[in-house]
Amino acid sequence: MIRDVLSPFTAWKNLFREPVTIKDPLNERPGSARYRGFHQNDLDKCIGCGTCETICQNGAIDMLPVDGVPAKLGDSGLRPRIDYGRCCWCALCVDVCMTGSLTMSNEYKWIESDPDKYLYMPGVDKKHWDNAELGYRRHEERHLSPGDRVDMPELHAEERIGSFIEMVKGYDIAQAQLEADRCVSCGLCIASCPAHMAIPDYIKAVRNGDYERGVQLLYETNPFSQVCGRVCTHCCESACAARHEGDPIAIRWLKRHIIDQVPQERILQLIGKPAAPTGKKVAIVGAGPAGLTTAFDLARLGHAVTVFEAQAAGGGMTRYGIPEYRLPYDALDRDIAVITAMGVEIKYNHRVGTDISMQQLETDYDAVVLAIGLHQGRSTRIPGSDHPQVRKAVDLLRQITTGEKIDVPKSMVVIGGGNVAMDIARSMARLQMQQYGEIRVTLTALEDKAHFLADPVEVKESIEEQINILDSRGPQACVIDADGKLLGLKTWKVLSIFDEDRRFAPKYDPADEQIHEGKMIVEAIGQMADVSLLGDALTEKLEWNRGRIQIDPNGRTSEHWLWSAGDCVKGPDVINAVADGHRVATSIHCVLTQQEAKI
């Protein structure tokens, strides 16, 4: 009892202790190192993907354009603006940020009389905490969206090297859904795709398992999904937001996955019937991706389309330039079958210029499209390059496709570091394997490894397939012995490729000379269009631009009836050709319907 009365008085001991009050709480108390204070944004790092906006459960983030930050491929040019009347500083936006540009400082005092001033664009609106060192940063690993791509099942090098069987197996449904799950649906990829495919939407279709919807989305922008799902140059993946800290989404493989899941008949049902005939006739020269895309679009719009193809089968460069192990012919056939099902007539083995003249087409059709591709190989013109055993890659590839007999050399050298060089090297390696059981292919490229033109995957796979890749080697001469037999290729070490003006002017080190043994040398240093079919008169009439036919942005040439599309005017790329095909088709349709209206 007495204790209970007296013991409370012990509290008075504090009278003689220093108070624990913080002297100057306004200045003495910086937030901790992890403090989730006001936002910072590294404008250069930010790509404006808007993922922060998507995850914000408070609807606090707006994506708005900023002066001085233009939209470019892989960067929308938008930057987040945060409404501090909504924000709860949960930092989910920081955690989910695809580039790590958005962070938080340890500053936490912001007083305002005008509530409208709380719309804050970090990085743009200058604040004293912009350079604060401390503050919340995302954990080293990004936790909220997986960064690693789902591995694509492929044939091992040993399995694939003996045959032309397609090496990429394609995702199964579970894998595809895992991969599709990684997508944050920002849509940055759409702009970088030449055909502007609805990529986030069809990835969503994969996620939801709604493949029919996926097919519909694909056909809205691209009738070559089988092809593009395999060999597209996937510019989209280089604009992918996931690329910044992790692997980009395997957009190409997902496209292929969609088209693989839906049977051919169902695809035909899904894309619907063409429109009523318009009575207009269009001729298309070349059944490659550009020509057939034009044909597909125009046929759907009801125009009568005839395609003239010099070869015995359609597909153009995708058939005759891309080896079967990358793009099996039946896949290509399926794409073409859908196009012909739209009513497109393809006249195979009809070489314009010999079987039918351009003048004839001009008179017979309302419009003509020239989509002849690039089928002529360029030559290095080094001494000895006129030797019969010095071949062009495109010719050789075409021969392989058509099944012509090729005298497979026991050893060979490929000149070139691009995808075509890899293709021919790997094709020939397969033939060597089939015939001799061993591979002796040497590939010499001007560029060093870091600057190879070929896809890194191609290079990696080529090496797996025992192709001897030598970088920074400049071809100097084909070594021919006294009997006229080709012995190999002489190369010098490349010191530099371009001069100060970025012009092509390679410098070599003659001291570092090597001779690569080879019974055959294949030049794979580029292609050009074979424009002989135009005929002299037309060639004369058309306007040209550095060896290519001059076209306006819609693909129309200087002749009002003639359009040109695809590789022959835009350079080699499937998806570009498809995009070009759409463009030309739209232009033609527009012109034709306008004519109609005039009449």
Binding site: M1, R3, D4, V5, S7, P8, T10, A11, V20, G31, S32, A33, R34, Y35, R36, T51, T54, I55, Q57, C88, W89, C90, A91, L92, D95, V96, M104, Y136, H139, E141, H143, L144, S145, P146, D181, R182, C183, V184, S185, R207
Partner: protein, 390 residues
Amino acid sequence: MFELDRSQYPQKKPDGTLDIDLSSGKYLKLWQGPQHPGITGNMAIELTVCGDEVVEGKTHVGYLHRGFEKLMERRTFMQCFPIVCRICVPEPDFNEYCYAAAVEELAGLEVPEMANWIRTLILEMGRINSYLMYLGGQAGALGLGVIGQWTTYVRDLMLDRFEELTGARIYHMFILPGGVRDRLPEGFAGRMEKALQEIESTLGDVEKVMFHNAVFKKRTVGVGVIEAGWVDSYGITGPNARAAGVAKDVRKDQPYLVYPELDFELVTGKDSDIYARADVRRRDLLLSVDLIRQILAKMPKTGEVMAKLPNVLHWKIPRGETYVRGECSRGEYGYYLVTDGSGYPRRVNVRGPSYTHSIALFERMVINANISDVAALLVSLHTYPPEIER
């Protein structure tokens, strides 16, 4: 010798309800709250008093209702995580933990061990905060303001530890589905030990000034008794039940996180009055201090803190329902989560211990209490209104 016989007030109507005629002048309606300093947070109690004696009490809640359970139905599983902690301000971590654990259970996620240790640490730190706040409140409700000064100060030391660990003082948002956000910062254990020592020394003072205080005892001993029989019928959990001698603690009953690996005994009381409840909480606080020391000593030094999550922007969880509970400073905290295979919860129901304590139980206990004791009584049940109405 001054107790009046009040048994005549109020009479009962034939149907059992109280016959209270306000216009008779015998009774006075007295509102405490929501703008009232003696009320724990933003709630109100409507008292009908006769003299100094309360004859009827009604709890009014809903002043803090934000509709969390509705809002969560339109937020993805990850988006729910920042908002759950707002359900209970003084001890938000249980929301984070229970929600995360429920999601993990239904999504089949395995949480890394390191994360479980850090979660336990955070929950115990939160418990200390909550109890410190309670002690200040309990003393303050009886006019002993100095305790609140001390405990709020040491609570602030704990908030500093929270700040360096989680990056925020109050809403930590650190325990997310899948694990926790980060590891302990460098030198955390040492600074924590300092804070713990300060807390212990302050608790020593609190014991001397508050628990060995004649007036405090006079006001609390024998006041506000919870009968053991009420524990089940009113759904009483936590210290309120333990002070009534019912050894009920989720940490022991259904051990979660790393509690099986920690060595502790439950704190129970006998008398079940305000004093006993305060004392149970004080000893429970000391237990938490001990648990934190154990955790920091036993926890692994390295390890993952997050499970592999799918992309949270479109995270779907298969259909299912579960209930996950934890022992918070007030009693059993639980999340009932129903999923329907979509990317959003179908239904979330939060069971805050205050729900039964401050409504059914309090309305029962307040009958025949003295007006002066009402505030102390309410505080002694340790209720936080936001978890009642959510």
